[in-house]
């Protein structure tokens, strides 16, 4: 084994605590990156398999690009293409089942097929009973359904049993007339019914969600696909299925968050490694000088340290990969356990692609080796004479001062950018502020520790003064630690600021929504997601309930603008204005809402305008099942439920004409003046009982549900903030542990001249508090502008919230900082207090 590896291995083994802390810094980052990237493909693959399996036996599948329903007569166009043997419309919708009766599953996919043509396109091997027949098309006859045997077994159904499924008109009861041997997509429960019946169920007469076709024998697949594409025109996807874009986008966002977290952890790891290697170089100055004297070249010294960083990187990355594998396995198992039933997923499989391996290894090794380069170069510059000289103090002082001025200049520029009002400059300003404060940290260590040590010296007078002196004599190391703590806590403050703005903003939206006395909404917040809408019967039933006054309904269809999938929400402007209101963007008002009477006008929410880069008065081309249509944006407004997704509001007439949607997905109602609201709620409850996929809330209950949601949202953000802060805890711990090691002889001397173990402990604790105090103060100063940047940034992508002064966030940040000071000091303080005086005095 080469001497470099031998030295690296033995030096690392000789400093177990330091090696463990440095390794941990890398492990955390690699674990997050490797672990999540190993989980994500499994989730995506499950979705793809699920989608593919559902159309697996079909030669050709045609869907609208936006996933919207379209005219079933498109099947005729497909059937007319040369090479197509048969084409049939299919209406496939996911349905959330009511809690009773218990079918042992939360949702099913109802598939409406043409009993005559569909068997020519895919096979339906009957296991028991019979397949659907042409006579089952009669919507006045008793509804019948056929289900795969596996679904029947799971749901506890047999031929002849009844199956109750929510429908637009309330609930529909089917008789199971047959079971099928056909394969079922993983974790999906299917129910086949005749197409007219499905269209009736979902209030989508004459609409289809897909066209399935079979090729003639010997037909050239590509040629036929191309011809079908030409026949159906723009706005359709041929030959492939798209995964549920909302879910896929959710996974992608989660993936990005985890990768950012991983990168952040690695950057912090880089800080820690830089710190560690700087100390190592200082510690081994005599060894390096001797090696240079006996003939080691500069390159060999550089090589020694880079080899050590390589060994450190291999160790950290290796353990990180192992931890990542564990993380992925636990996450996959946890996901299956927690949301599997909800999302109808049986199990996720972890999958580590070559690119995931390469990404994790490159980043883990890269962060380690890159961070060690500067200290390694410094080591290679040590002259042989250094082997004979005593240790030098304050070697960083000069560079720190120079960096301090650069940092101050950057902070000044950043302040200008933050106040500029320009989104791009504000974002850059936030980044510059962090860089500037990091650069200036080492120069600011002296004045700030002078200030904070006064407080600490009130409690620990002697130890406080010593701790201050210890930090001030190596401002470089203290500065790096302060920067690490600052960045972490700035992110904590930033996230808290964002949370305050988002929660405050949504609360305001929710308040507007609760201007309505009663809300009838599907299970789930967003309108998309394939839930069953209600026919006019439900709104009518609500209207005719005693004590109910004004009633407004919302309808939903998906659409595509450019490459962007958007929501189209149909409202009756006049009715809507009576029971609810929008949070209008600047320059828009109820007058713009009234313009929706014109079918070419839309109201666009902030997310839509930001993502399509449009404004009031602009025109926008929306792909509908009837082809591309140009709308004019009458104004900007957000409603609470749809604020998160790009949404346009159109009249219900336009939605019916262009998307063929007449089903209501939400009903808002007010009580008449003087009515007994509790009694009305009870009556409405009885009315809604007939529509099992809907839930009824009064304003108070709705507010409660939203508060609970905000509470959960806050927990998620707080957890995120704590996770982000953990690497700074490691940095603090690392610096304190290194400080104890580097000053072993001094601590021995202190003990020799009469310092008690408790005083030594206090010394380390005081240092920890000082470092954390400086880091926390800097974190607060940087965090508030960072929060402002985050709020502005999410505003730029369409989630408009007002900046709120984050009082809670500031308090939480201070608490986290103080808590970290205590936690980080525990191990180094015990280590320092337990030092054997004689051995410490002899320590080299």
């Amino acid at each position: 084994m080469s001497i470099s590896f031998t030295l690296a291995r033995r030096y690392m083994a000789g400093r177990k605590l330091r090696t463990a802390l440095t390794t941990l810094a890398i492990v955390l980052g690699v674990m997050l990156i490797f672990g999540f990237n190993g989980t994500l493909p499994g989730m995506m693959e499950w979705m793809r398999k699920s989608m593919l399996a559902s159309v697996g036996e079909v030669d050709l599948n045609v869907q609208s690009a936006s996933s919207a329903l379209f005219d079933q007569r498109v099947a005729d166009k497909v059937a007319a293409v040369d090479g197509v043997a048969a084409a049939t419309p299919v209406l496939r919708r996911n349905v959330t089942l009511p809690e009773k009766p218990d079918y042992h599953t939360t949702g099913i996919t109802v598939i409406g097929i043409d009993p005559v043509v569909s068997p020519d396109v895919r096979s339906y091997p009957v296991a028991e009973g019979r397949m659907l027949a042409a006579s089952d098309d009669d919507t006045n006859a008793r509804p019948v359904a056929v289900i795969p045997a596996s679904t029947a077994e799971k749901m506890g159904l047999a031929v002849g049993d009844e199956l109750v499924v929510p429908a637009a008109s309330g609930a529909m009861t089917f008789e199971v007339v047959g079971t099928l041997d056909s394969p079922v997509p993983p974790a999906t429960d299917e129910v086949y019914v005749s197409l007219p019946l499905a269209q009736d169920m979902f209030a989508a007469p004459g609409r289809a969600s897909a066209i399935e076709a079979a090729f003639e024998g010997g037909a050239d697949e590509e040629t036929v696909q191309e011809a079908v594409g030409d026949a159906v025109g723009d706005g359709y996807v041929i030959g492939s299925v798209t995964a549920d874009s909302t879910l896929a986008a959710g996974f992608e966002v989660a993936g990005t968050i985890f990768n950012v977290l991983g990168l952040f952890a690695l950057a912090m790891g880089g800080f820690i490694i830089l710190n560690t290697f700087r100390t190592i170089v200082a510690e081994r100055r005599h060894d390096i000088g001797m090696l240079r004297a006996i003939g080691a070249s500069r390159r060999q010294i550089l090589g020694l340290f880079l080899t050590e960083s390589l060994v450190q990187g291999v160790l950290g990355t290796g353990l990180g990969l192992l931890a990542g594998w564990g993380f992925a396995t636990v996450t996959a198992a946890g996901m299956s356990e927690l949301v599997g039933d909800l999302m109808r997923i049986e199990s996720f499989e972890t999958s580590f692609s070559v690119s995931t391996w390469v990404l994790a290894i490159t980043l883990g090794m890269g962060a380690t080796v890159l961070s060690a380069i500067l200290p390694a170069i410094a080591a290679s510059r040590i002259t042989p004479l250094d082997a004979m000289r005593p240790q030098l103090g304050d070697v960083y002082e000069k560079a720190a001062t120079k960096r301090g001025w650069v940092g101050l200049a950057l902070v000044a520029i950043a302040a200008g950018m933050l106040l500029s009002g320009n989104d791009g400059l504000i974002g850059l300003g936030g980044l510059l502020l962090l860089v500037g404060m990091s650069l200036g940290a080492s120069a600011a260590v002296k004045p700030i520790t002078d200030f904070f040590s006064r407080g600490i010296e009130l409690v620990y007078r002697r130890e406080g003064a010593l701790a201050r002196a210890n930090l001030q004599r190596n401002p470089g190391r203290a500065g790096v630690t302060v920067s690490a703590v600052m960045i972490s806590l700035a992110l904590v403050t930033g996230i808290m600021t964002m949370t305050a703005a988002v929660v405050g903003g949504y609360a305001e939206y929710a308040e507007k929504a609760t201007g309505t006395d009663y809300l009838v909404i599907p299970q789930g917040l967003m309108l998309s997601g394939g839930m069953v809408g209600a026919g006019p019967e439900m709104a009518e039933a609500v209207r005719s309930t005693e004590g109910v006054g004004d009633v407004a309904t919302l309808r939903y269809a998906p659409a595509v603008v450019g490459d962007l999938t958007v929501q189209v929400v149909g409202i009756d402007a006049e009715e809507y204005a009576k029971v609810a209101s929008f949070r209008y963007s600047e320059g828009s008002s109820d007058a713009d809402l009234a313009k929706l009477a014109d079918p070419d006008m839309v109201l666009a929410n902030a997310s839509f305008r930001a993502q399509t880069k449009t404004a009031k008065g602009d025109t926008v081309e929306v792909m509908t099942p009837e082809g591309a249509r140009t709308f004019t944006i009458a104004g900007g407004g957000n409603d609470y439920i749809n604020a998160k997704l790009p949404t346009v509001y159109v009249s219900q007439e336009a939605l019916a004409d262009l998307w063929g949607v007449t089903a209501d997905v939400m009903v808002l109602a007010n009580a008449t003046e003087g009515a007994d609201k509790a009694a009305v709620l009870q009556s409405l409850g009885a009315t809604i009982d007939g529509f099992p996929s809907f839930k009824l809330y009064d304003a108070l209950a709705w507010q409660q549900v939203q508060n609970d949601l905000f509470g959960q949202l806050e927990i998620v953000y707080y957890t995120l903030a704590v996770v982000l802060a953990i690497p700074s805890l490691l940095a603090l711990l690392n610096t304190l542990a290194i400080g104890v090691l580097a000053r072993t002889r001094e601590i021995g001397m202190l003990r020799a001249v009469g310092a008690t173990r408790r005083q030594v402990k206090r010394l380390v604790v005081a240092e920890s508090f000082l470092l954390a105090a400086v880091g926390t103060a800097a974190g607060l100063v940087a965090g508030v502008p960072l929060g402002y940047v985050i709020v502005r940034s999410i505003g730029a992508v369409g989630l408009e919230f007002d900046f709120v002064w984050p009082t809670t966030g500031l308090v939480v940040t201070v608490i986290v900082g103080l808590l970290f000071a205590v936690l980080a000091a525990i191990i180094p303080a015990r280590q320092a207090a337990r030092l054997d005086v004689i051995r410490a005095l002899r320590y080299e």
């Binding site: 001497i3 030295l7 000789g14 005599h286 500069r298 004979m388």
Partner: protein, 243 residues
């Protein structure tokens, strides 16, 4: 031909009013196998002379020639190679790598010279045997006494078969018994193994083992005397006022 020759060797630290002349036009030469001790009060320029001869520092003026090569003409890499191949160093504080065993420490210069580790270890073991440490080869520095550590350092200095050994206060950190042992070992290095030694020391008893004592004061050589045993060394020291 002399193994080391300095001509007008001068080293000035600082400039202007704060300039300090550590070495002032020193002419010195060492023959192969010659053992020369350099003595003098603190700050007289002994260590500066050693550093300049070893190529660890650069002179303000004058030349150092080692093995016929004038080192001020060499690049940093060439000086490094010269040190590795032709010069051995023994330091006051031993300067062993704490995590390496005695044999690994002794083999270091060969390993740095890209020698195969087996060949380097064999050679290092041979030298450890010669300095009387054959039974401590696997021990790390913290498991050795000061004298033993310095023997490892001597073995390390000799493992590349250098022409010259530079020793800076090699007994400065040792008790008197160990000091005597190291001095005897250095004598052996010179007379039996034929290496030239330039040793800086404060200790008259150690200097008495040398062939020649060079006395320095204020950066200059004030006396350069061949000695033959302790008695003539004492005479020389008395003459220059060191005793």
């Amino acid at each position: 031909m002399a193994i080391v020759e300095t001509k007008g060797l001068t080293k000035v630290y600082g400039t202007g009013e704060t300039a300090v002349t550590a070495l002032d036009a020193v002419d010195l030469s060492l023959d192969p196998g010659e053992f020369v001790a350099v003595m003098g009060p603190s700050g007289c320029g002994k260590s500066t002379l050693l550093n300049l001869v070893g190529g660890l520092d650069t002179p303000t003026s004058g030349t150092v020639t080692i093995d016929g090569r004038e080192i001020s003409q060499l690049s940093d890499d060439e000086i490094t190679r010269l040190r590795r191949e032709r010069i051995g160093f023994v330091f006051q504080f031993f300067n062993l790598i704490p995590v390496l065993s005695a044999v690994e420490n002794a083999a270091l210069p060969l390993i740095l010279d890209r020698g195969g580790s087996a060949r380097a270890a064999a050679k290092a073991e041979e030298w450890l045997e010669r300095v009387g440490l054959e039974d401590r080869r696997a021990n790390r520095p913290d498991q050795l006494s000061g004298g033993q550590q310095q023997r490892v350092a001597v073995a390390r200095a000799l493992v590349t078969e250098p022409a010259l050994v530079l020793a800076d206060e090699p007994t400065g950190n040792l008790d008197s018994k160990s000091s005597e042992e190291i001095a005897t070992l250095l004598r052996q290095v010179s007379s039996e193994w034929g290496r030239a030694i330039l040793m800086v020391t404060h200790d008259p008893r150690i200097a008495a083992h040398a062939d020649r004592i060079v006395f320095m004061r204020d950066g200059r050589i004030v006396d350069d005397t061949k000695i033959a045993g302790a008695e003539s060394a004492r005479d020389a020291m008395e003459r220059v006022g060191l005793l």
